[in-house]
């Protein structure tokens, strides 16, 4: 089980570092071709080859690690009534930064 981290008063950089840990753990045996490491600009679908079910798992892993359940991820994942086609790490950081207060 991944180490849990208190999410209160986290800076954007701390949120980012937590996401890096989650994503590196999650994708470690996915045989991905990217070599740049996880960056703020990293795109989940284009670069990390995420499918919709992977986004679901990521949401659950984030909530576990940050010990914060019920975050309104629909604000991040749905725009104009449709699921978004791409998400960047910086968008997730920004979303979490707004909702972890």
């Amino acid at each position: 089980m991944a180490q849990s981290t208190s999410s209160q008063d986290m800076s954007d950089d701390e949120i980012f570092q937590n996401l890096v840990v989650i994503l590196e753990e999650m994708t470690s045996d996915w045989d991905l071709e990217y070599t740049d490491g996880i960056r703020m600009e990293t795109r989940l679908i284009e670069e990390l080859e995420f499918e919709s079910i992977d986004v679901v798992q990521l949401v659950s892993a984030i909530e576990d690690r940050l010990q914060k359940r019920g975050l309104p991820f629909e604000e991040l994942l749905i725009q104009d009534g449709n699921y978004v086609d791409e998400i960047t790490i910086s968008e997730i950081v920004s979303f979490l930064s707004r909702h972890l207060v």
Binding site: M1, M26, D29, W30, E51, S52, S60, D64, E74, N82
Partner: protein
């Protein structure tokens, strides 16, 4: 007492198994059944994998354990957001935890809803999980490397795109069907390899595994298992698929034989299914019916199902079907088989005002019961239960406001159609409430058939088999007719204590606050497991 083995066969029904046993396809199961006890095992009101397996593992109905479906619809002002259910959503203690905190070692493989895996006194590898996420679905975490070394994790995993085809009839070519059937044979072999490793290297008191290919094959190839449903003719492709289906069951029989052989004579073995299977010959378009009654507005009324589907191919497309701002009642998924009523949170909100809710719901219920097959005049929706009736308990509000039982036990379609009721071009398989229980081994009667048991009885049976007391708050019972009288006399069923408020390791929801006593009980459990 002794060890207990549970072999779950997702969706297994005596309708098929009796034929296969009689025809020599499953000789071991025939022998095991003849030497043991068999019973119909009645599923949850909605006989569906998530509520049913969780009821089997908790001894509680969905209104208490809180898992109603694969997805939970979360109603928002301008629509619906999908939430996938996982282990966090199980609101009752599982048998893994009840047995584990009393010193019994447990192994649970390929059960729905165990992801993310949580601490147990033994091993847990969740089912219904894509291979890319099996690491998080495995407890203890280091066991994942063992799993990888003995099995092909890509074969253990769940392929969502393939599985969706189970709800979409006639979408697989014969060549695809062959590949698909063989992949399920390989899956079961890989799960067996993991189970075998545990039984040989670190045996547990309670060892349980689910083989889910049974359900999938019955969804896609039901007529091949009941040949009288196939069209007449000598079709070599038809025979090929039929033989591949039978090969799957032959292999499954050999796997069951190996597991029971490894278990030994002093072990109790339960073979169970989460629900049964039956034949569906029609499709009821529930949202079309709701539209015709004035409850639902389509986003695009021109999009009409032409091929007899129950749902869209993509889950995200569900949201686009309906104009939620102009809708008061809707069906969310085929599997939930129910009507959700949009309730207003304030007088200005769209939806039904609280004071109108009961009368509104009753009106839909009566109208559904009054709906008739236009060709025969027969009733189509045979029962409509309120959520309090279908899923009594603290979490009944998570169930559909109304739950439907159709005359053929089929699932509803949520798509638009020209008519509310159509005949299928070919008969298909659908879930049915009558599952199976076949039990054998130490203390269990021989050659006996008992009337019926309930899915919530399984956890009490497992605990009893382990020599543990049955907590008072379990809804199921130990069916005494299953056991030899002398065995029962020597090992009387003991009811004692209560379950803990959550399963081991699953965080308590934020809105829940533990009492000091509950906190202490949870700490005791974590201490016992070595985490505190």
């Amino acid at each position: 007492m002794q060890q207990v083995i549970m072999i779950g066969l997702d969706g297994a029904t005596f309708t098929v198994l009796d034929r296969l046993m009689a025809d020599g396809v499953m000789p071991f199961l025939r022998q095991f059944s003849t030497n043991g006890v068999r019973s119909k095992l009645f599923s949850t009101t909605n006989p569906l994998t998530p509520p049913a397996w969780i009821s089997m593992l908790t001894g509680r109905n969905p209104g208490n354990h809180g898992v109603m479906d694969f997805l939970t619809p979360m109603q928002k002002e301008d629509g619906i957001f999908v939430k996938f259910n996982d282990s966090h959503d199980i609101q009752c203690e599982t048998v893994w935890s009840i047995a584990g905190r009393q010193g019994k070692r447990v192994a649970g493989l390929n059960f729905y809803g165990m992801n993310p895996a949580f601490p147990v006194n033994g091993f847990l590898v969740s089912g219904f999980t894509p291979w890319k996420h099996l690491k998080r679905a495995t407890w203890p975490p280091e066991f994942y490397q063992t799993v990888k070394s003995i099995a092909d994790i890509k074969k253990l995993g769940f392929d969502l795109e393939q599985e969706k085809k189970c709800l979409q009839d006639n979408q697989m070519s014969p060549d695809e069907a062959e590949v698909w059937l063989k992949s399920h044979m390989a899956r079961e072999q890989n799960w067996f390899a993991v189970l075998e490793n545990i039984m040989q290297t670190d045996p547990c008191d309670l060892t349980a595994v689910v083989f889910d290919g049974v359900d999938k094959i019955q969804h896609l190839f039901w007529p091949y298992l009941l040949p009288e449903l196939l069209p007449d003719g000598d079709d070599s492709q038809q025979r090929k698929i039929q033989n591949l289906c039978l090969d799957y069951y032959r292999q499954l029989d050999k796997i069951i034989a190996k597991i029971v052989g490894m278990a030994g004579d002093d072990c109790q073995v339960l073979i169970t299914s989460d629900h049964g299977f039956g034949t569906t010959t029609e499709i009821f378009y529930l949202n079309k019916w709701l539209h015709d009654q004035g409850y639902l507005t389509w986003s695009n009324p021109d999009v009409v199902d032409q091929v007899g589907q129950l749902t869209e191919n993509r889950i995200s497309s569900h949201m686009g079907l309906i104009d939620f701002k102009k809708t008061t009642a809707f069906a969310w998924t085929p599997s939930s088989n129910g009507v959700f009523i949009r309730q207003a949170k304030s007088p200005a909100d769209p939806g039904i005002q609280p004071e109108e809710y009961e009368a509104f719901r009753e009106k839909i219920r009566q109208d559904l019961l009054a709906f008739r097959d236009p060709d025969t005049g027969e009733q189509v929706v045979t029962q409509v239960l309120t959520r309090e009736e279908a899923c009594p308990g603290k979490f009944s509000k998570m169930a559909p406001d109304l739950m439907l039982i159709l005359r053929d036990h089929g699932m509803v379609s949520i798509l638009n159609s020209d008519r509310s009721l159509i005949k299928r071009s070919e008969a298909a398989g659908c879930h049915h409430p009558e599952g199976i229980l076949i039990a054998g081994g130490a203390g269990i009667c021989s050659g006996k058939k008992i009337g019926s048991t309930n899915i919530t009885d399984v956890t009490p049976m497992l605990l009893y088999g382990l020599g543990l007391p049955v907590p008072h708050d379990l809804e199921g019972e130990v069916p005494s007719a299953l056991y030899e009288p002398d065995f029962l006399k020597k090992h009387p069923v003991v009811k004692d204590g209560m379950t803990n408020p959550v399963a081991g390791g699953i965080p308590v929801r934020q809105e829940d606050e533990l009492t000091p006593k509950e906190e202490e009980a949870m700490l005791d459990q974590l201490r016992l497991l070595g985490y505190v």
